[in-house]
Symmetry: C2
Subunit: 514 residues, 2 copies
């Protein structure tokens, strides 16, 4: 659902000067004492292991891309879990169990090396829907290795960067450790799901099982691999949380309403028959201000926490270090809401809940027209939530609002969603991220909140209250879009290829082991 967790090409991030340059002015952004001193022992030998296994690591990612799981389409649901289970077992996990849920299954895997520290790892093995006709460079399931100008050798395919490439890099790190005769420096607990792209509706059934919760509660934090180095600067943005989301369909139908036709009828009848489509339009209009930019659902802002001074400071730093013009060009946008300048736009991005229409479907949708009065109309919405909104409270408010406005017949079919996520910048996992970036000379910028969403709340909320993050070096782009890619051999000196990304995960494991 998150699309890209740190969308490298569609959301805020690129062309920044990072933490290292700006941190001096902005205490206490600097690293906690001591963290930067850790190092990966005999790193050179490990790098040789990574390099000698590279072909195998690439083939693993390619093979995975060729076996897509798409929950929205019911594609390879059980097969995807079995594939994930094999990936975990092959990487060295001692247990790897397929866990059924009321929806798609997940995988719970553990690797207890007897270390003092434990790290949680979250994988998604599903991918976003795709339309092969829209892919120009290579077919989406071929996982073709090809040269991309300015980047080098890349894998093109659905899931390349979201999330099989980065996750493949992390698996490669575990394979390299084994090849070098070393256990991981931390115990590992892996939870994987196949429904991330539909809003993780059943992931809590995996995480909340007593033995899974017990295993995760020993972890010093949990992370999902990602690869989000900016190709212009090589920097990364480390997010301290993410918006929550409710994804739902609002459906107006004659059948449910008791007015208008219960099926499509000839449009000549409109003069005496009500229209479920017009009813949907009227109901939608009650959800937002006329400009479509501010939710006016009853009580929507009740629990919204304004940005803290620290969050504003981080955003201001991001605004200074990123290019508004570059962002606008890449997103085909000329003006922000209310013509806000860059910093204020970024504040709005981080702080405001939204009601977005992902799609409208009613009646005839083909070429030209068709003279029908449709019996049904649907709007696909995503509602992004900010702290301290919760999914449950917001869903109740949406339903109550529609009832209060006289639209009780409009169905609200929620397909997924979760609360916002927050992780402290002083947490061990964020400090380890910063330490790895510093040692590798990668500029890191802290962002108070991703405007995208990921189900981190299942970890950060009670009872686990784990710090949760998205982390990884390397680069890819095109999540949810055609021609998605992930860099294998980088010709861009600012971003790492697969080997560099794999080494960064090894470094990260040793940081977390401290």
């Amino acid at each position: 659902m998150s699309a890209k967790h740190n969308p490298p090409h569609d959301a805020v991030a690129p062309s920044r000067r990072g933490l290292m340059g700006a941190a001096a002015a902005l205490a206490p952004l600097a690293l906690m004492p001591g963290v930067a001193q850790a190092a990966t022992p005999n790193r050179r030998a490990l790098r040789r292991a990574v390099e000698s296994q590279k072909d195998e690591s690439v083939a693993r990612i390619q093979d995975w891309i060729r076996h897509p799981t798409i929950a929205a389409e019911g594609l390879n649901i059980q097969e995807g879990a079995q594939f994930m289970q094999r990936l975990a077992t092959d990487a060295g996990f001692q247990t790897a169990e397929i866990m059924q849920t009321e929806g798609s299954p997940g995988v719970f895997a553990t690797w207890d090396v007897g270390a003092a520290k434990t790290l949680g790892v979250y994988f998604m093995y599903d991918v976003k829907q795709f339309d092969p006709a829209e892919w120009n460079t290579a077919p989406p399931l071929e996982a073709r290795l090809m040269d991309k100008a300015g980047f080098g050798k890349v894998i093109v395919g659905r899931g390349a960067v979201n999330q099989k490439g980065p996750e493949g890099a992390f698996l490669a790190a575990l394979h390299a450790l084994r090849a070098a005769g070393r256990p991981p420096p931390v115990n590992l607990v892996l939870v994987a799901e196949g429904e991330e792209e539909i809003g993780s509706p059943h992931f809590h059934q995996i995480v909340r099982r007593a033995d899974v919760t017990a295993a995760l509660s020993r972890a010093g934090g949990i992370f999902i691999p990602s690869s989000s180095q900016d190709p212009a600067t090589g920097g990364v943005t480390l997010t301290l949380g993410a918006k929550g989301i409710i994804e739902c369909e609002l459906v107006s139908s004659g059948a449910n309403w008791g007015r208008g036709p219960a099926r499509d009828i000839h449009s000549s009848n409109k003069a005496m028959v009500d229209s479920p489509v017009w009813r949907l339009v009227a109901a939608l209009q009650t959800l937002v201000t006329p400009d479509g930019n501010t939710p006016i659902i009853e009580g929507w802002f009740e629990h919204v926490r304004p940005l803290t001074d620290r969050e504003r400071a981080l955003i201001a730093q991001n605004a200074r270090n990123t290019s508004e013009a570059d962002w606008k060009r890449r997103n085909s946008v000329q003006h922000f809401i209310d013509d806000l300048p860059w910093r204020q736009a970024l504040e709005r991005l981080a702080s405001q809940p939204t009601v977005n229409i992902e799609g409208l479907v009613a009646g005839y949708t083909g070429p030209g027209g068709k003279t029908i009065l449709p019996g049904r109309a649907a709007a696909k919405l995503d509602l992004r939530l900010v702290p301290n909104m919760t999914r449950a409270d917001s869903e109740a408010k949406l339903n109550a609002h529609l009832r209060a406005r006289g639209f009780a017949d409009i169905e609200v079919n929620v397909t997924g969603g979760y609360d916002p996520t927050e992780t402290s910048e002083t947490s061990r996992i964020v400090q380890a991220e910063l330490a790895v970036c510093r040692r590798l000379g990668v500029e890191a910028t802290l962002s108070p909140r991703s405007a995208g969403s990921w189900p981190g709340t299942v970890f950060t909320a009670a009872p686990l209250s784990l710090a949760a993050a998205q982390f990884g070096l390397g680069h890819g782009s095109g999540a949810h879009a055609p021609d998605e890619y992930f860099v294998i051999d980088s010709t861009n000196p600012r971003v790492m290829g697969l080997t560099g990304a794999t080494m960064a995960y090894i470094d990260f494991l040793y940081e977390m082991a401290r």
Copy 2:
């Protein structure tokens, strides 16, 4: 575009007691003196000819259905005109010319038998789009002959009743006359088009060519074959006109607006980027009252002529003679607008202009959701016009309204449309229809106006000012819907099969010859 000109199963019509029963109370609805006295000479011999040619006539309709022309899809545009040209030539027309237009071609055919009277004939040879997956009885292009319970032997296929079956019955009448060694009793002028289902955008280029106008101006009226006997009563509704229509797409796009994204981007950006979809919703809401039932486009009612007393009387008669419950059941409707009773609902149907949403298309329309902020949203509208609204004036008002409300960037892409049509009940063609029905014992009810639309205005407006009608016996249903059919051999004693419908056209020709 009209779907069905007299939609037999989707609009007003069924289970009536007709003209004959109610006329006594309602002067001057009765026939003009003398008209009822005409008769078809040696009808028995003609009927034998019709019967002996029946297999050939059925095969002609089937062959035509197997060659669909769909303007919206660019399907068989030239081929359809060629097919139509051959049909005319085979039926005996002396000239049959394919006329190119700026869109699809039409056919202009003449048959001058040296008669005193001339009859205009209007054919459409295109059909509505279809989805084979929705057809349950038989594939839409197979034109399968099959038994339909309660009806008898029918042809199932796209265009079976709209309009190839009825038109095929008329062609069969001409073939039968020739086989019986007789010329038609009237001169014939045929104009045919292949764009009726997209609103006849270029038909005026055919009708307005000087020689076509000259030929049509000699006609005592023009009609399109239809088959609309009510299966419950055998009666027909003869309409004295039809609403006009504008069919258009309203498109909101970031590209045109200069705000929002010019293409689909990740929905997480909604908090700082405007949405072209929300803009479309807001623009739509300015077109109608909140209940969606009354247009509030600036000046929309300026030229609306209220129903006359005579029109109200005809509607009241229709209301008495038709079953509200039956109509509601067949159309899956429980309540009319404002809970109007039947007669008032029918008055609203005949008298009110409408803004109907045929379809909504924006962003992601597949299963589940997709977290995008769409760059474009479209609403497919049909706007029905009543006398004395005109298409040109209404189109200008719609554009002016959107501009005045600040939506100048919303594109209004008109794909077709025409003015309302009116034909007097005292016209020769309506009187001939009534006379044929009376002689055949078919109950006929006059309706002031069809709520559906057909491009009759190209005939009824200056300079031609022809009376224009839709006429025919027999039965079929499912225009624009799956499982469209046309009755060939009727087992329902109240409705005619192909032979009866063909004979009725022969009678009609002799009536028009008087």
